[in-house]
């Protein structure tokens, strides 16, 4: 029955590579992956150390959770408070500062809450609250959402009301929603720059140290999860914080703008 043979062949050809070989698993935030940074800096590492890095890009909160459950080998995130808790609970070892980028407050060009020119992010948030200007929150426990909650707290409390929308989606989609609804939002600069050409949002507040966004890399504790690829994780941590890895981060640009500023070693030139 040749027909049956064709069907079986079709099915067999699909089973071949069903079993994937073990790779180094990096849980990270959407900002590092969606901006293209990891695509630019990981290939040289993979070549030199003969290890394939599987990038699982989720919010920082979920990235930490995956580390807690031992489902990834190494975590690259930007949520200092969550990272502290992660280290204190003994889930991670060898936390290293890698780089920072910054958050910006963006909104419609018409700027009904008159934020433009403000030097303080907290003041800007106070203005948003008193003007009840539409604001889209990530609402997903991501690093960006953590930062936003921190700023609302400093501005006098968690906002509520119809003007405050908790979206529960990624940064790109949040920016898109803000654009469609002519609302304000807090974004990392990288995602905003990648998204900017497609929308009409403008940067209204930037440069405040409170908007500083530090990234750390942490190996999942092998004492807790013996199956994690600890030595490959340490190779990645050593490489990304080396002068070479740091230079590649500094050289990564979107639209001519530097997105991430290396912090592990002093700039070489």
């Amino acid at each position: 029955m040749p027909r049956l043979r064709v069907v079986l062949l079709c099915i067999l050809s699909l089973t071949g590579s069903a079993l994937a070989q073990p790779h180094l698993r990096l849980a990270t935030t959407t900002s590092t992956e969606n901006s293209g940074l990891l695509g630019a800096i990981l290939p040289p590492f993979e070549q030199r150390f003969k290890v394939k890095v599987d990038v699982i890009a989720v919010g920082s909160g979920k990235a930490m959770k995956l580390g807690e459950n031992g489902d990834v080998d190494v975590v690259l995130s930007h949520a200092p408070a969550l990272e502290d808790a992660f280290m204190d609970a003994g889930f991670g070892v060898n936390r290293r500062a890698v780089m920072y980028n910054d958050f910006v407050i963006v909104g419609p060009r018409a700027d009904p809450a008159k934020l433009a020119g403000s030097k303080s992010a907290v003041d800007a948030f106070k203005q948003l609250a008193s003007a009840q200007a539409p604001f889209i929150s990530r609402g997903d426990e991501s690093g960006t959402h953590e930062k936003e909650k921190e700023l609302w707290k400093a501005a006098g409390g968690t906002p509520s009301g119809a003007w405050y929308v908790s979206a529960g989606v990624g940064m790109g989609q949040t920016l898109q929603m803000a654009d469609e609804k002519r609302a304000y939002t807090l974004s990392d600069r990288g995602t905003y720059l990648t998204y900017k050409a497609k929308g009409e949002l403008v940067i209204l507040v930037q440069g405040d140290p409170a908007l500083f966004n530090p990234y750390s890399i942490i190996a999942v504790n092998p004492a807790r999860y013996p199956a994690v690829r600890y030595f490959d994780s340490m190779a990645l941590i050593a490489w990304i914080t080396s002068p070479e890895g740091q230079r590649m981060i500094a050289d990564f640009k979107v639209g001519g703008e530097m997105l991430f500023h290396p912090t592990a070693v002093p700039p070489s030139n």
């Binding site: 027909r3 064709v6 069907v7 079709c10 099915i11 699909l14 089973t15 590579s17 069903a18 079993l19 994937a20 073990p22 790779h23 698993r25 959407t30 969606n34 599987d54 990038v55 699982i56 890009a57 459950n69 031992g70 489902d71 060009r109 433009a116 989606v169 990624g170 940064m171 790109g172 989609q173 920016l175 898109q176 990648t194 998204y195 900017k196 050409a197 497609k198 929308g199 009409e200 403008v202 940067i203 930037q206 999860y225 199956a227």
Partner: protein, 244 residues
């Protein structure tokens, strides 16, 4: 300080035309990322459909051909299970395969195998429910006659299956359609890893989250094209109808 850029608001139609062109571009370019995503989608959907059919169909057949108390209840439960949200099945599969889970030692999370496991759990009830519906609709005499003529229970079941192949193939096509368009499980237990577990649907979700709507739509068109090819292929390979 304010960034200036030209307004690029397209009409809906323009977006769609862009997407169509982008879809053609994807087919012509043969970008390895796209090719792998198509392959992974097909692999997971086909293997998931096969294993769910092997699990669900015999059960559905068994329920359909037996008289027992609580049969209606089983039928109701199966039909209800077809409403399982994919994210919930994804969560259950994650809990099962996570290092902290029951089968954590296998280290299967974030592999295609994990995705096949999740997708199988998702549609096994659907395959059982559809088989049950199809076989219940069959003339009961087919099964009885086959048994009376001395056929083994398996042989008798295959006779009924052969008679009802149209309905059963429809059931398999429904299951396949649900899997190739599935997102929640693929994302949760696959992890959307480039060139490893990224499927067409997780790629669409990713491009959409980046604001690349035309590319997302283009991948959607590609997905439908792939599903069409599979269905045409299955129709050609299925045994010809000998119904009068």
């Amino acid at each position: 300080m304010e960034a200036h850029f030209p307004s690029r608001r397209h009409s809906w139609l323009m977006n769609f035309v862009d997407a169509l062109w982008a879809a053609v571009g994807l087919l012509v370019e043969r970008d390895p990322q796209v090719t792998t995503a198509v392959f992974v989608s097909l692999q997971v959907a086909v293997l998931g459909t096969i294993s769910a059919t092997l699990l669900g169909a015999p059960f559905g057949f068994w329920v359909a051909t037996r008289e027992f108390g609580g049969r209606r209840a089983v039928e109701l439960l199966l039909n209800t299970a077809t409403a399982l949200p994919t994210v919930v099945v994804g969560l259950l599969t994650y809990a099962l395969l996570s290092r902290r889970g029951l089968l954590g030692d296998l280290g299967l999370l974030y592999t295609r195998t994990a995705m096949v496991v999740g997708e199988t759990l998702l549609i096994a009830p659907l395959m059982a429910a559809l088989t049950l519906a199809v076989v219940s609709g069959a003339d009961a005499r087919i099964h009885e006659t086959a048994l009376t003529l001395g056929a083994s229970p398996t042989r008798a079941a295959l006779t009924v299956a052969a008679e009802m192949r149209r309905g059963l193939l429809g059931a398999v096509a429904t299951g396949f359609g649900r899997l190739i368009s599935e997102l929640g499980i693929a994302l949760m237990v696959g992890g959307n890893i480039a060139e490893a577990t990224r499927t067409m649907t997780t790629a669409i979700a990713l491009e959409t989250s980046k604001g690349e709507f035309a590319l997302g739509l283009a991948l959607g068109i590609l997905l439908l094209a792939v599903a069409l090819v599979v269905n045409v292929g299955a129709a050609l390979l299925a045994p010809p109808h000998r119904d009068s």
